[in-house]
C-alpha cells in the first residue's frame, strides 16, 4: 500500500478544504430545502456561483484604497492556513502543524475577520459599514466563549495543540464524555452557528435587508473579490466543522498511517460526519426563528455560560 509523504497529505488537507467546502455549503442548503419541503438548488450551485463571479469584471468603489483590494486574498489565505494546522485527515502532525495551536488558529481566523471588516469600512458604503459594525460586535462575544472552550479542553487533556487534542480524546472515550468536555463542545457548537451565520443569528439565505450581518459587508464587492468571499465563507464553515468534529467531538476515522486508502477514507468519513452535522444545523435553521439584533447577545451569552460551567465542572471535580 503506497504511503503518501506528509507534504502531500498536507496538500491534500488544503485541497480538501478548497474543493470540498463549496460542496458542503451546497449540501446543507439542499438538506435545508428538503427539510422545508422545497426542491432547492443543486448541491453544486456554489461552485457555479464562484466560477461565474471569477469571470466577471470587478467594480471597485471610488473611496477605497489598496486595503479593500487586498482583503479577500488575505482572508482566504488565512482560511487555507488554518487547514494546515488542524487534523483534517490524519491523526499525526503534518509539516507546519506546529506553527500554531488552537489559539494560534483562532488568531489567524481573527485576522481574516479583521481584513474583511476593514475592507467593508474602506468601501465607503454605509450598508457595508452596518454589516462590519455588527460583525465585529458579534465577534466580541464569540471570542471569550471560544477561549473558555479552549481552556476547559486544555484542562482536560493537558494540551493545546489540535493534533494532541485529537490524540488525547481518541485514547480516552471517558474524556469525551466528561461533563466538562460535553459542555465545552456544546458551547463550541453554539459559536459555530454564530460564526457560520446560521439562524438564530442570521438567515444565510435571506435577501438584502437591514438585519443582515456578515453578508452586508460584501455590498461593494464584485467579480473575483466577491467570489473569494463566497468561497471563503464556505471554507470558514468547513474549518469550524472540522475542528468541532475532529478535535472536539468525533475524533475517529482519520488516517493514522498516511496510506492512500486511509487518507481517502478519512476524506469520506469527514464529509459524512459533516453531512450529519449539516442535518442538525439545517434542522435548527428550519425550526428556529432569527433573533433580533441585540438578542444575539443573549444567545452568545448562553454559550459563554455553558463554557463557564464546563470550567467549573472541571475545577470542582465532577467533570
Amino acid at each position: 500500500m503506497a504511503t503518501l509523504s506528509p507534504i502531500l497529505v498536507q496538500a491534500a488537507q488544503v485541497l480538501c478544504l478548497l474543493l470540498l467546502s463549496p460542496l458542503l455549503t451546497g449540501c446543507i442548503a439542499r438538506l435545508e430545502a428538503i427539510i422545508q419541503g422545497r426542491y432547492g438548488p443543486s448541491i453544486f450551485q456554489v461552485y457555479r456561483d464562484i466560477l461565474k463571479l471569477f469571470r466577471k469584471q470587478a467594480i471597485i468603489p471610488e473611496p477605497s484604497s489598496w486595503i479593500f483590494r487586498a482583503a479577500p486574498f488575505v482572508a482566504c489565505g488565512c482560511y487555507a492556513t488554518v487547514a494546515t494546522l488542524i487534523p483534517v485527515l490524519t491523526t499525526y502532525p503534518l509539516p507546519g502543524a506546529t506553527y500554531g495551536d488552537i489559539l494560534g488558529g483562532a488568531f489567524v481566523l481573527a485576522l481574516a475577520g479583521f481584513a474583511t471588516a476593514l475592507a467593508a469600512l474602506d468601501s465607503g458604503s454605509q450598508y457595508a459599514h452596518i454589516g462590519s459594525s455588527r460583525a465585529v460586535m458579534v465577534g466580541v462575544l464569540v471570542e471569550p466563549t471560544l477561549i473558555f472552550v479552549f481552556f476547559s479542553v486544555a484542562f482536560i487533556t493537558g494540551t493545546d495543540l489540535p493534533y494532541a487534542l485529537n490524540a488525547a480524546l481518541r485514547h480516552s472515550a471517558a474524556d469525551v464524555l466528561r461533563p466538562a468536555h460535553v459542555l465545552a463542545a456544546a458551547a463550541f457548537f453554539m459559536m459555530l452557528l454564530v460564526d457560520t451565520g446560521r439562524i438564530p443569528i442570521e438567515s444565510s439565505s435571506a435577501t438584502i435587508e437591514f438585519g443582515m450581518i456578515d453578508d452586508a459587508r460584501l455590498f461593494e464587492h464584485s467579480g473575483p473579490w466577491m467570489a473569494l468571499y463566497k468561497w471563503g465563507g464556505s471554507m470558514k464553515q468547513f474549518l469550524l466543522y472540522t475542528v468541532f468534529l475532529n478535535v472536539l467531538l468525533l475524533p475517529m476515522g482519520l488516517s493514522s498511517s498516511g496510506s492512500v486508502a486511509s487518507v481517502a477514507f478519512a476524506i469520506v468519513s469527514l464529509f459524512a460526519k459533516m453531512l450529519a452535522l449539516g442535518v442538525v444545523v439545517a434542522a435548527i435553521e428550519t425550526t428556529f426563528a432569527k433573533l433580533r439584533l441585540y438578542k444575539i447577545t443573549e444567545f452568545i451569552g448562553t454559550g459563554l455560560l455553558v463554557a463557564l460551567i464546563a470550567i467549573f465542572a472541571y475545577v470542582v471535580g465532577v467533570g
Partner: protein, 639 residues
Amino acid sequence: MIVLIAAFACYLVGTAAAIVLPGRAGRTAGFVFLGFGALATCDASIRQLGATPLAFGDANLHTVLYFDGTAAFFAGTIGVVAALVAIFGLGPATKDERGTGRTTSATANAIAFASLLCCCAGDVLFFVFAWELLALVFFWAIAYCGTDSDSATAAYLTIGITHVAGACLIGALLFLANAAHGFGVGPVVASGATLDAAVRGVLLLLLLIGFGAKFGLLPLQVWMPYGYRAAPSLVAALMAGGALNVGFYGVVRFIVGFPDPPVWFAVLAIVLGALSAFLGISWAVIQRDMRRLAAYSSVENGGVILAALGVAVAAKILHLDVLVGLGIAAAYAQILAHALAKSTLFLAISSISSACSTASIDRLGGLGRVMPVTTIAVLLCAMSLAALPPTAGFVAEWLVLESFMQAFRTGNVTFEVIFAVAGALIGITAGVAVVAVTKLLGAGLLGAPRSPQAAQARETRSPWRLTALAAGSSAIVGAGIFSSPILDRLGPAVASIARTGVMRAIVGTVPLVQPAFSGFSSISAPGLAAVIAGFTALFWVLSRLFARPPAARAAVWTSGERYRAWTQYSGTGYAHPTQVILNAKERIGLPFYRRMFAAILRISDLIRATQSGVIAAYLTYILVFTILLLALYPSIRHW
C-alpha cells in the same frame, strides 16, 4: 557602563541644547542627542541582557546605578522607542507642539533621561528621586509642550494621580528600607521576608498602587487619556511607549521579586489586571479622539501585562518556577510589543493630526490612498494591538493566554478559577481590541474623507518622519517574525528574577515559540506569516487567471442617491453596537474623581472656617493652646 553613562550624558546635553539653542536649531539638536542617547541605551542594554550585573556609584550619596538583565530589558525598550521618536522628531515641528517645538525636544530628552534613571537606580532613595523626576517631566510635557486647550486639567490630573501613587510608593519603600537597614534595592526587596504576612500584603498593595498609576491600572487610569491627548503626540509616543514601562519595571523588580507574597495579593493582581484590561479596551472602543483611544488601549495593555505578572506571583507562591518564568516572559513580550506598537501609533497619529489638524476619528477618513506610509504604520500597529499574526502583539498575547492556560498545573482550585476567568476576560479583551483598532483604522483612515481638512490631507514629505514610521512598522513585524530569537535573548533577563530560563525556541527549519511545558503548544510567527503569505499569493494568482477585464472604479452604490461622504458610519456609530452590548461607559473617569475631590473640598471648607478674619478668634487660639499646654504640663513632662 561607559556606554550607559554616555546615554545619560546625551539625554542631559540634549535637554540643555534644546533649551539653550534658539528656535529650530534647538529642536533639532535635542533630537540628535536623543537619537545618540537612544543608540547608546540600546547598545548598553543588549550587551547587558545576559551579563553579570553592573553596579556603580556612591552609596553614601544615594546615587548608585545598578544595571542587570531586568534593568537592561526595560532600558532597551525605552531606548528603542526613544530612537523612533528621535528620528521622527528630526522632521519639522508638528502642529500639536507649542512654538518651535524646542520645549518638546527638551522634554523628550528629559523623559528618556528620567525613565532610564528609574530602571538603573540601585538605591531606593535614588529610585524615588528618578520616579518623581519622571512625574515632573510628565507634568511638564502635558502642561507646557502641547497646544491642547484642556492641558491644565490634564496636567493637574496627571500630576495629582501620579503623586498620590508616588506617596504610596515612597511610604512602602522607606518602610522596607527601615526594615532592611539600608537603601540598596536588592536588600530592600529582600527585607520583605522578615515582615508579617499582613504587613507584606499592605506593602505590596501600596507598591502596586504606586507603580500601577504609571501604567494606568484601574482606577488610576484617569490621567492617561487626558494626558496623552494634551501632550504633543510625539512626546506621547515616548511616554506611552517608553516611559510607561518604568511602571512595569517596578512591578517586576519590587512586586514579582518580593519574597512570600500572600495568596490574596496574587489573586488581586490578576483580577485587577484582567479587569483593567477589559474595561480599558471597552472604554477605548467608545473614544472619538485617536489619542484617547490609544491611551485606553495602553490601559488595556497595562492590565494584560499586570495579569501576566500576576501569574508569575501566583506561581511563585505555588513554587512553580517554570510558570514564574513563563509569566514574566509573557509580560516581557507584551511590554515589547506594546512599546513598539504604541509608539509607532502615536507617531502616526502625530503625522495624521499634522496633516488634518485634528485627531478626531469622526472627522477623518480617506487617508488610505493619500497617506500610504502612515496607513501601513497604523495598520500594523492595529494588528499588533489586536494580536493578529504575524506581529509582535500576536506572539505576546498568545504567550499571555498560554500562561493562563497552565491553570490546571496549579493544583489549586482558587487559582484554577481565577486563571480561567482572567484568561476569558483577556480573551474578550482581545476581541474588543479588534473592534477598537478596526474603528481606529477603518473609520479613522479608510473610506471617504469625512471633513474638508481630511480631504486635503497629504502624506508628509519629511524623509525623517517617513523613516520613523517605516522603522516602527518594520519593528512591529520584525519583533513578531523574530520572536523566537528575541525571547531566547531575553531568557537570562527572565532568569534573573525567575531563577529559570523558560523559552525553548526550537530552531529547526522554522523558529518556533514553545512555552516551557513540552508538548503543550507552540506557534511560529514566521511560519504562519510564510504560509498565510503563500496562500494569499496563491489566491491572487488564481484570481488573475480568471479575471479577464481589469477592475474598474465606480461610485459607491447608494440606492440611486448622490453619494455623500457623511452618510458613512462615523467611528462613534461604528462602535455603537459593541458599546451597547458591553454597556461601556467611562464610569471611573474625570467626573468620578471630581466628586471625590469635591468631598475633600467640603472638609477643607470646614477647616477653612477657622481663618475667619476675626482677630479675637486668632488670639483665642493662642490663649487656648497656651492654657492647654500649661495645664497638661504635669502629665506630659515625662513624655
